[in-house]
């Protein structure tokens, strides 16, 4: 936390022999002058991570993951009300607002198709004990998302990798009708984000999609879009 230290310090104490010609005698007076000069600001030390997300599902595109580093609290958790920023991810895969929430962040580029992986690099200066939060939508759903919630990076040394898997969560902001009008993914190309909320109101585990093949006649989804937990694998490597 050096960068938070006072940037100025009493750096120089000058002792100046000073001859006062105006004086009648030959006394030499010493005058002490204190000046403040800027202390050297250390160059920021970048702390970087590669986050690789692998889509484990059969037919659910994973939206470009939002990778956010932050100091405290949670950006989402089961039992909490979803923020509008999270709702935008869970209902349409738009992470732009969510990426503004932390101290440093990076977003994926394009959806991750089933079986595919994407690596996202994120860098924060000087801080080695940030918390990592990830969120990404399962595209062929109403408001399913996956990710991790405020995982501490404090014990991840340079070169070390942490691997975990994540289940599907439900943002609780949109009823799981699975209708063509409300699922934005390629299975239906329906509406994405809607500011109105018509579901439980709380983030929960996702119950899974039913699909028309499994008894929800109005569903735009088929057995191809069903999933079970976990839905993604996450590998986090500290690179510097």
């Amino acid at each position: 936390m050096q960068y938070l230290a006072k940037h100025y310090k009493k750096a120089l104490v000058l002792t100046l022999p000073f001859l006062l010609a105006a004086c009648g005698d030959d006394d030499t007076r010493e005058v002490i002058v204190e000046v403040e000069v800027p202390a050297e600001i250390p160059d920021p030390v970048p702390v970087s991570y590669d986050v690789t997300v692998t889509n484990l599902t059969n037919g659910q595109p994973v939206s470009p993951p939002a990778v956010v580093l932050h100091s405290e609290g949670t950006l989402w958790e089961v039992g909490a009300v979803a923020s509008v920023e999270l709702e935008r991810i869970a209902e349409v895969g738009d992470s732009a607002d969510f990426l503004m929430l932390g101290d440093a962040s990076a977003g994926g580029v394009g959806p991750i198709t089933p079986g595919d992986s994407q690596t996202i690099s994120v860098t924060i200066d000087d801080i080695t004990d940030a918390n990592l939060t990830i969120a990404a939508m399962l595209g062929n759903t109403n408001d399913a998302f996956t990710g991790i919630n405020s995982w501490s990076l404090a014990n991840l040394e340079v070169g070390a990798t942490y691997t975990t898997v994540s289940p599907a969560y439900d943002a609780g902001t949109e009823a799981n009708t699975e209708s063509a009008a409300t699922v934005p993914g390629p299975a239906a190309n329906g509406e994405g984000f809607s500011p109105s909320r018509d579901d439980t109101g709380f983030i929960s585990m996702h119950p899974g999609v039913v699909s028309s093949d499994d008894g929800l006649s109005t569903s735009a989804l088929t057995v191809e879009h069903k999933f079970d937990n976990p839905v993604i694998r996450i590998q986090i490597t500290r690179t510097e």
Partner: protein, 234 residues
């Protein structure tokens, strides 16, 4: 000589791990599901040789009472028989989706493992289960994610019915009443696996007036895990 020392150390550790300690703990249970309710929860600290349920073994009558109707009477009977320390019904009724409840417990010296059970609604004989989880002796906060089990004692017909053990159908308390359908024809007959096993999940249907099930397939399905148990050891 060195090897002998190592063996002694291992033996001491083994001895130490079997030591029993009274513990001062808090047990928090969170319902992680989107649409299921939990009936009154029992969190039971007991000896390692006792057990409320075992996968692959037939449910006791007492467990059946809990899994089919949400009654903790049988669990309380087992609890006193085995000298357990019991938290009963910390939520004071049903625990709604995503809600949490917690209670403190002082455990006796020999009660070194924790089991947690509660029926899940709507279901015929589904329950959340934590089975003989060893209570850590080191102070700290520990998290366990737990799954939904099927007691194996009742057909999963998914129809409105009774919570009495041995009687068909699901009990339907007030918060679930307006959410469930009527007039289903019945989803499934008696379980193939009549021992305690991982629940296959609800099937449900999309009709409130007909179809096979009285359960709503867009609301009352689930994927594991269904509950989070957080134990704080002081």
């Amino acid at each position: 000589m060195k090897r002998f020392n190592k063996i002694s150390a291992a033996a001491l550790l083994a001895f130490a791990s079997q030591q029993s300690f009274a513990a001062d703990i808090t047990v928090e249970i969170q319902n992680l599901t989107h649409g299921l309710y939990f009936t009154p929860i029992a969190a039971v600290a007991h000896t390692a040789d006792a057990s409320l349920f075992e996968v692959g073994e037939a449910a006791s009558t007492e467990l059946q009472m809990m899994a089919e109707g949400g009654s903790l009477d049988g669990i309380a009977t087992i609890g006193s028989a085995i000298g357990a320390d019991v938290i009963a019904n910390p939520a004071g009724g049903l625990l709604a989706p995503t809600m949490s409840t917690s209670a403190d417990l002082m455990t006796a010296d020999d009660n070194v493992v924790l089991s947690v059970v509660a029926m899940i609604l709507p279901s015929n004989d589904g329950f959340i289960g934590l089975d003989n989880w060893e209570i850590p002796t080191e102070a700290g906060t520990y998290t366990v994610f737990i799954n939904a089990y099927d007691a194996g004692t009742e057909a999963n017909d998914e129809l409105r019915g009774s919570g009495e053990p041995g009687m068909a159908g699901m009990p339907v308390p007030p918060p679930l009443d307006p959410l469930l359908g009527n007039g289903g024809t019945g989803v499934a007959g008696a379980d193939t696996n009549t021992t305690v096993h991982i629940h296959r999940g609800n099937i449900g249907d999309d009709s409130l007036t007909e179809g096979a099930s009285d359960v709503d397939n867009a609301v009352h399905r689930w994927l594991n895990p269904v509950a989070k148990v957080t134990v704080t050891v002081r």
